[in-house]
Symmetry: C3
Subunit: 433 residues, 3 copies
């Protein structure tokens, strides 16, 4: 009887223990994974809308930097490319980057919600949104450089190819788990994948396109103030501040999760490093232009912020604050001298996108091993070369084809009249006294 | 003895089980409901500040669209109407929409915190904030259409009535659980409730107000570029991007909660559908204006984004991405042809608010049953008719009374001098060479 | 045997209870503290990026308020001061305010992540970010007042001292747990600590600097419209809306945590009080300028919003909505009459920063005891006097030294040519017809 009682007793005890532990365990797991799912998804959405707003930052930066006869067109380009990028990244881009999902086809994900489960850790749609705004950023980068002489619809066509095919291929190499990821290439938020890609595409474009009419004199010196003066410095300024704001989403969101203590700590570090790198870029550009060229060039200070931000983007987590400032400062220096380098080759990058995004992106990516022991210089170099060369060559090829097929450069008359009038029929600033 | 022991034993066991399950249960529930409360409240606040920022978007869109002699006044209107809306929605609006709470009176909620409890699932104040910015959006919509010839203070008076009474009545019909909700009307984030309401109020206003001095020639054709040119396209552009950004809060926040896996998935889908609809609107407007009228009209592209966003607002959750693009594209088409429709009736909507908000809002609301099986076309039609007619008639009545009592139209002299000088005494752009 | 069995039984029971309770307890505690940590950190980051964006708001407000010959310089100042503030707050500021941590030294926190633990409740880096943007806000406030005649680099030098030393000292008095905190001074988000500090530093600056060339006629009346007209009212408007947006982060984030039901409720109340106070400021300024001076002054409406926001910042939690409106309205009134007060002393505050930030800040801080029973008027008065006098005297001293060492005022020629040309070599608005 006692024995029987003991068995009952022990088994009951075990049962209680089992039930309480299991139920507790499962309860916890359920709660945790659901809470984590919500945190991760919310974080993608917040960072996503910050990066989405960078489209406005580019629009303002570029509107302010072009001459007042090409502002409406640059606005049309920026709103248009963001729209085109969103659609193209849905049609093919996401699938090219991540691979066609089971039973998948171009433009899939109908409806989105089906694909998400607690196990993935975040809503697929929130990830799509976050990746899409990165894609759009890449395209935004290349719009400014070619301003004031490129035809609108060929630009839109290139934007569609860049957003739907070129960027997704490069993105797949690394973030889609491709060959660059395999060899240990490290690019946290896309100094090379996003910024150099945009810059290299722009470089190919301006080489084929040629400089604006009358931009360089016979000796090859740029005609600085008139008639190529930036139309509005405050618009450039708000553009840069908006980009700076968006960059917290760009780099912070690239942690890809907010579900743990470690994530929260990491993201906070990313925020301050991102901020300090931009600070370094601004100060470096201010000091250099003042010391070397006499005046404190506000445009270079503003582009210096971008250079600093791009430079830290490859590795915003590992650096110390001091390293972040220095990495950003070098980015600012690169912007100043990169601008002059392009001048010396008579390359007309209207907004300075190539120094700020391509050159500073190369620097940031190569600098990652300095602070991140998991990155190696050789892998970084391979990644930088592979992406820049691939994007440049493919872009050069596409621009060439378009150039030969239907022309990409506006006529002399159109440039003299102003592209706003000829392309959109809308004058940008109609200010009457 | 054994029996007694058994009883003790069993009861103790039950007690343990009860305690452990209860305490676990209650602990979980407590944690969950508190975490859910925080998530929901945080989400209302985030979406609320995004929608609040739409006030800046409208201010910039309208500043850029009016002529340079009426920019200061439009700024005064926009900052003023947002302030008035906030106060009026506190004084009476919230209570009209949701019903006077127990022991309540006009302008109650002192202090707010008393009303909130874990059971409600979110802080009352966070809901008030979110609903208030919707109210302000409604008023913002109607400010641009009447620009350049309406008197400032009569406009403020109308803004107070629209924010405090008209919109809250309509809001109560649906979101306050009124008769439209009962008949199954479906308007997720307010294509009709917010956007058509603002548009219909504006339509009534411009009919009574008449067009700007000299806007139409004798044959009724609008004088397009000069002297009615938009003062600043980049300001319109940043305005549209800010609105686009805010719309993630507008539509996303209308999910009203972020406390579960399902909420997070739904909100993510809403984000991408909202974005894709705007993309569709931009591309449609670009293609149509280029193909039909020769030039790629940047203003129509920008307004096309708004049209797409308004169209998807009635049902941003149910559509597939492709449906979202198409719904938005139709919204963009409606904007382009709606603008011309108003022209043909010599109705002078300075910023295109009526096509973008009222017409596209009607389309979006009627289109909801296509993607949402719970919505019926008949209910949608009733809702659209009821709200548009109610708002139009009441607004027409109020504008008429004001017109007869003290006049709402600025004098010929004031319009020729420029409303900035006569109304605020501050020139908008003082640019010296 | 039974006794032995009973002992085993009882001890086993206790063990189960102990295990289940402990494990449940610890599990819960772990989950809760980690979730709380994530919420708090996320909230600091969200509020931090909102406040960061206020730098853009100040840049636009000031760009719009200065004459068109000094816009590039004000942009350079604003991007520069934000960069300098970020670096200086890292180098010394944070440690001055909070005390040097164990083993700490100037510019420590390498790497940041080491310092954070679940016990602190939030990531240290997220707190640093949030505090840094407050510091930058303080410096932003003082940049506009001295516009159009202060030399750029002396201003940057002062910015570094204000961000790195003066503000951190004042901050340490209260938020670092210093003597003001001990005597019960109450300043929730910094009406005095941030806004009066910025304003008092600016006041000292403009006294030493003197007014712009030709600003006042012989009778001391300001030459209002020409040639000192604000360059762009829409830029002022978007600046104010951006500041208003940022203020939700400024005041909301000062709750310092989002980990509980109570926090979420409190933050929601703060949001609506902050909003209503700004509404009050706008309406008050609109009514007063219309009634007292004939025209509805849009600039005063916009500055009235700032005045209302500054006034509520000292105590945004305790007031009722009605109190918040009234506190803000008084702030708006103070801005209108404070502006005229400065005129009467021939003090040339270009953007109205001193009335809006210093005067309204004093009002808000002294008004805190009206709604918060824990604040006393005497403590508030001591805090207001201590901070304003300390900051004014130290700033006066530093500006004087710089004035005597290398001069802080631009030459007559530079002012006539325009500071954009002489300081940055970049014209702000290059608009060609």
């Amino acid at each position: 009887m006692k024995k029987f009682f003991k068995i009952i007793y022990t088994s009951l005890l075990s049962l209680i223990l089992l039930i309480s532990l299991t139920s507790m365990g499962s309860a916890e797991t359920t709660v945790s994974s659901e809470i984590g799912f919500i945190f991760n998804t919310l974080f993608f959405l917040i960072c996503g809308f910050l990066v989405m707003f960078m489209a406005a930052g580019f629009a303002m930066l570029e509107s302010g930097m072009v001459t007042s006869k090409s502002v409406s067109v640059i606005c049309a380009k920026n709103i248009g490319l963001y729209a085109i990028s969103g659609i193209m990244f849905w049609v093919v881009g996401y699938n090219i980057a991540y691979g066609i999902p089971e039973g998948g086809y171009i433009g899939k994900f109908i409806p989105w919600s089906d694909a998400s489960s607690l196990e993935t850790g975040y809503s697929d749609a929130s990830d799509w949104f976050f990746q899409m705004v990165f894609c759009a950023t890449t395209v935004s980068i290349c719009s400014g450089a070619m301003a004031e002489r490129v035809k609108l619809w060929p630009f839109f066509l290139f934007a569609a190819i860049l957003a739907g095919i070129i960027y997704p291929i490069v993105m797949g190499w690394q973030w889609g788990g491709g060959w660059l990821a395999s060899i240990g290439f490290s690019d946290f938020a896309g100094s090379t994948l996003v910024h150099s890609t945009g810059g290299a595409a722009a470089l190919a474009g301006i080489i084929i396109l040629g400089p604006r009419l009358g931009r360089f004199d016979r000796k090859g010196k740029p005609k600085a103030i008139k008639p190529f003066a930036a139309s509005s410095i405050p618009l450039v300024t708000i553009g840069v501040f908006v980009l700076w704001l968006g960059w917290f989403g760009f780099n912070g969101g690239s942690q890809l999760s907010l579900g743990t203590f470690e994530d929260a700590v990491a993201i906070s570090s990313i925020f301050i490093h991102t901020n300090l790198a931009a600070c370094g870029g601004v100060v470096a550009a201010a000091v250099i232009t003042r010391v070397a060229f006499g005046k404190t060039d506000v445009i270079q200070m503003l582009n210096g912020a971008i250079g600093g931000l791009v430079a830290i983007t490859a590795e915003p987590l590992a650096p110390s604050p001091l390293s972040a400032i220095l990495i950003g400062a070098v980015g600012g220096v690169i912007v100043v001298f990169g601008t002059r380098l392009l001048f010396s080759y008579k390359l007309d990058d209207v907004v300075g996108a190539i120094p700020a995004h391509m050159f500073a992106g190369i620097w940031g990516t190569l600098a990652a091993p300095i602070t991140n022991p998991n990155a190696t210089f050789s892998s970084q170099l391979i990644g930088v070369l592979a992406i820049n060369i691939f994007v440049f060559v493919v872009s050069y090829f596409i621009w060439s084809i378009m150039h030969n097929m239907f022309g990409i450069r506006l006529s002399k008359e159109a440039q003299m009249t102003g592209t706003d009038v000829t392309e959109t029929g809308v004058i940008a600033y109609a200010i009457r006294d």
